[in-house]
Each structure stands twice: as C-alpha cells, then as structure tokens.
C-alpha cells in the first residue's frame, strides 16, 4: 500500500506582472492511500489545479510551509521527473502539444523511464500493452502515430491523458478536470479507463466540477476546497448535496468566510 500525505501545505506563485508573491494554498491537509478514490470539488480559482500541480512539482508553485509525503518521504525538493518515477501521475487540465514527437515514441520513453537501463520494454510487449489500452479507450491506432497532442481535439487530449495513465500504471493519479469538454460517450470511455486502474495498488485524486463524472467513477471520499483550503470532507453523498445547494449554500451552512468568483 502506498500513501500520499499533504500536510499544512501553503503555496505561493509569483505574479509575472508586478513580481509580487501571492498565496494560493493556505494550509491544505489531506491523506490518501492506494485503493481509494478522492474527489476534489470547489469553485473556480480556489486552488484545485494549484494543489495538483504542486504535488506533481510544477516549478512555478512554491511551497512556503508544510510538506508533501509519498510513502513517508518528503518529495517537495524533488524534480518532477523523479516524483513521476516514484509513482505520481498528473492528468493535466491543459496538456502540452509537442511537434515532431509521435505519441507512440513518447509513450515508450515514458514506460521505459521507470524501468532499469538493462530492462527496457521490448517492442512486442510495448505494442501488446498499447493495443490492449487503446481498446479499453476505444482509440484508434492512428492516434499513436500522430504527434503528441498536436491538433488533438479537446476530447482526444483527455483520452490521451488516460491512455498515458494506463500505460504508465502509477500508484497515484491526480486527474484535473479530466471530464471537461467530453461528450457523454467519451465521458463513459474515460471513466472506464480510470475504473480499469482501480484496485489495491492505485489511488486517484479526481478534480471535477460535476457530479456527473462521479456517477461513473464513484469516489470513496469527497473534499470541498474553498479559498485555498479543504473546508469539508465527506463521502460520495457530499458531492450530490453540493449539486443541489451550490457552493454559496454550502458555505453559508458551514459558516466559511470566503468570497466566490461570481460574487465579485
């Protein structure tokens, strides 16, 4: 069993324009184990992507206080690639496009990155694994010969993030709005992909705005984030309640002092 612990995490970014630091996460606490699916919901601009990027190690986000522990070991000083090799995966809200590098070539490099130099995956095994995962995601082989994310539609990019997840088999997947921009069929396919990973050796933090995704990937734990903190944690029913009441209702219920974007 693997664990991911976020302890009193404070994170700043530096504003490009006036070079001032701005605190976004203001003390996040959260513990996940493999075998569990956690959903994180919260209003726009509250710091959900910041949390996932900080866990992954995006260099623009500075941890000013607190710690992130993977299996008890602090990872805040590790570069992103090392964190990935230790078992973290981030399905990004906006995946990068890379010209001239085929999807297949990239996937192979990613799979091999976790393996020892003298134990690189054979072409046959790689193709077998690729075919199996393409089938789960209802993706055509042609997608793997295209350049990485270049010219992919929004939905294709999301599907491709899940393909990477299936190929890399991390211990923890942080999935940031993996459902945004997906049509209903694609939503089912992507959920199928994540559910295929479910098991004792896999945990996931799913960031979403919509209960709908959670009908397909039923979470064990739901966290509500507001103003850079987790303000409430509950089971799957919390997401349903949120769907009915909205953030304003929940905030007033909980008596939390944060402004929501559409009130400004």
């Amino acid at each position: 069993m693997a664990t991911l612990e976020i302890k009193d995490l404070h994170v700043e970014v530096t504003d490009e324009e006036n070079q001032t630091a701005k605190e976004i996460l203001k003390g996040v606490n959260l513990t996940m184990k493999t075998g569990e699916i956690h959903a994180i919901m919260g209003p726009n601009g509250t710091g959900k992507s910041t949390l996932s990027q900080t866990i992954m190690g995006q260099p623009s986000y500075h941890v000013t206080q607190g710690d992130i522990l993977l299996n008890g070991e602090s990872i805040v000083d590790m570069p992103v690639d090392e964190r990935a090799r230790k078992g973290l995966f981030l399905g990004m809200q906006y995946p990068a496009e890379i010209q001239g590098v085929t999807n297949a070539e990239f996937l192979r490099a990613a799979v091999n990155a976790r393996r020892a130099k003298d134990d690189q995956i054979s072409v046959m095994d790689f193709l077998k694994m690729l075919d199996k995962n393409l089938a789960i995601l209802d993706m055509s082989e042609a997608m793997t010969e295209r350049y990485l994310n270049e010219g992919f539609s929004g939905g294709e990019k999301k599907r491709n993030e899940i393909l990477q997840l299936l190929m890399i088999q991390p211990s923890f997947a942080l999935l940031d709005e993996i459902d945004s921009g997906l049509d209903i069929d694609a939503l089912k396919v992507v959920s199928k992909g994540v559910n295929a990973m479910r098991g004792d050796n896999f945990g996931s933090m799913i960031i979403t705005h919509y209960q709908r995704l959670l009908n397909y990937i039923v979470p064990d734990v739901v966290h509500i984030m507001m103003g850079g903190r987790i303000v409430k944690t509950g089971d799957a029913s919390l997401a349903k309640r949120l769907e009915k009441e909205g953030y304003a209702g929940l905030r007033d219920d909980l008596d939390i002092d944060v402004a929501l974007v559409d009130e400004n």
């Binding site: 690639d81 990004m92 890379i98 590098v101």
Partner: protein, 426 residues
Amino acid sequence: MDTMQTQTQAATAVQTAAQQHNEPSWLINKRLAALDQMADLPMPLVQRFNYRDWDLMPGNLQWADSKRDLAQVADGPVQIVQVGQTTVRVNLPEKLQEQGVVLTDFFTAVKDYPDLVQEAFMTKAMKANENRLASYHTAYLNAGVFLYVPNNVVISEPIDIQLIQDNTLDQPLNSHVLVVAGRNTEVSVSQHLTTVGENANLANCLMEVIADENSHVTVATLDELGRKTLAYVERRAYAADNASVNWAVGFMNEGNTIGNFDTELNGVGSRADAKVIAITDHDQRMGVNTKITNRGKHTNGNILQRGVILEDSELVYNGIGDIIHGAAGSEAEQENRLLMMSSNAHGNANPILLIDENDVMAGHAASVGQVDEQQLYYLMSRGIRRETAERLVIRGFLGAVLSAIPAKAVRSQLVEIIERKLENGR
C-alpha cells in the same frame, strides 16, 4: 614585392601546376582568368555574420596522392569514393554505363568528356566571377566528381558520392562536384563530406547541379568536416523548364563554416525545395545563406531551415527568396527556425525577401527561441529525465526537415550524428 609581381607569380605557379597535370588549355585559361579577377571581386555576402578574419584563400595548387586506406567507407552499388585528390573507387553498374551514365573523377572527365564538362563547368549554375571564393575555387581546383545523366534516363538507386578530406596532408581541398541531369531524367544523389587526419586545412567544396527540362534531381548531403577544417561550402543549381531540384542538407561540420546555397529557377514551372539542418557546438561559428531565385514564370521555391545551437556556438540562417521581375505566378515560401540550448549561444534567423514582381505569393516565418519549459515539464511529468525530454523536443523540432530527407540511409545517419552532438554538447 608589389601586388602586380605577386599576381604574376601566382599565375605562373597555377599554370605550371595545371600543365604538369596535363590539363587542356580551356581549363588552364579558365583558372588563370579566375585568378586574375579574384582581387577585384567581393567576398560572398553572409548577412549578420562576420568572417573577415578567416583565411579562406590559401594560395597553392599542388598535386598529391592520399593513402587509399584512409577511406573507410562501406561499399555501395552506385558510388564514387575519393580521399583528398585520390579516387579510391567508382562503382557504376553496367546497365547504367550502357545507358550512357558517367560517374567519374572530375579530371578524368575533363580528358574523356571535354565537351560535356566545358559546357557545364562554372557556366550555368554559377560563374567564377560571382564572388572571390568562387574564383579562388576555379583557380585552385584540385579534386572533384563528374556525374552525367543522359536524356530520358531514370536512375532508381541513389548515387553515393563520398568525399574524404585528407588532413594527414597539409593542403586545402578544393573540390568540385558537377552534376548534369539531361532532359526527362530522374536522379537522386547523396553526398557525404568527412575529414581524416589532424592537420588544419581549408575545404572549399562546390557543387553544381544542372537540371535540364523536366528533370528531377534530389540531393541529400551530409557534411561532417572535421573540427580543424575551415569550410566554405557552396551548392548551386540551375533548373530549366519544369525541372525540380530538391535539396536536403545536413550541415554537421565541426569547424567554422560558411554555407552558400542557391537554386536558380530559370525555366517555366520549375521548382526547388531546400531543407537545411544544422547543429553547432563548442565555440564554432556557422553562417548559412539558403537562397532560391525565381526567374521563370510559375516557379515555386520552398526553403525550410532548422538549427540547434549548443554551448558557445553561433549559427546564422539567412533565407533568401529572390523573385526577379517577370517571374509572374511564382511562389516563394521560407521558414527559418533556431533553437538555442545555452545562454551563451548566438543565433540569428533572418528572412530576406527580394521581390520585383507583383503577381507572386511569398511568405516567411522565422524564430529564435529556447526549448519550451511547458513542453519539458509535460514530458518530465511522465517520468522522462530532463536530458531525454530535451532530446525528444529537439528531435521533434528538427523532425520537419528530417522526415523530408528521401534517402533513408542519410536520414538515419543524420539522426545518429544529431544524437551524438546533443549527447556531447550539454
């Protein structure tokens, strides 16, 4: 000693050496005329690149044999291999010989095919009086290859020209590759330039391609001259009606280099495609002009240059589209892009469009930048190490040109060289 006297002495020396070499008088006269006008001609203009203090014209014409075993080159079906001035082998299948194809050492061709050579050598694709280095080249020419493809002959096998500069000796390589493709021909040439030996020498390598009506010529070159070689590489083509000339140049020389590439689209409906990849490293300096001149009506020129600049090196790409008055209905496109891999790298991507005709389509794009950190982050977030991620991004960046190189062997060799340079230059 005044210049007049030096000039006379130089002329006498060239004349003596050429006579000793049993050259015909037309060639000797051409050498002497070139020598005579040298001082009055300008050096080739490479914008935004200063090479004033490079010694590109060491003046001596000498004949020397090179050791044949210096040429470690795998045997190819259609091939000529030269080390220095010495031709090590020529492989020309009988079938091609019967069709009248000529592949031979330049000076042998001067003897055996005087009319063919005289008609094409520095007359059409370029002239000796174009710049001082072309004149120098003509006067001091000491090696070369002649390839002739008669009308209507289609050669499917690529023709492999392997030129090895002999830096175990102490003399410049002034090599001329002359390619004459007759009407309705198809031929693909690959040229590989390398260096053996540790001496510091000049390489002045010129290639002329005459593409006659409706011929299709593809040239892929892999330039790998050594670190101690100061190189001037000029490649020129003349395209007649409906001819096409496609260049793919892998500019991987290790020493200071000037590249001057120009295709003249003279005939109606002729086309040219020039793709150039370069990587510079150490404190190397490289300036490249890639030019296509649209002269004929409905001509089409396309320039694509990509370069990677490592360490303290400098790389300048000038893309020159020159559309002459009267070339109505023509198109000229170009893209010049450079990637700088260190803060000490210098790069310049400079599109130059000279348009003297209204009825044309012309476009250009240029950029000088660094590896995109967002892209690196994305790759690394999948566990890929920074070096590997950088290499993937760079290979992707060069990919647009790499994938367009028709000769598979050249392409894979080029990929290998690129990987090696990136490995070393970090």
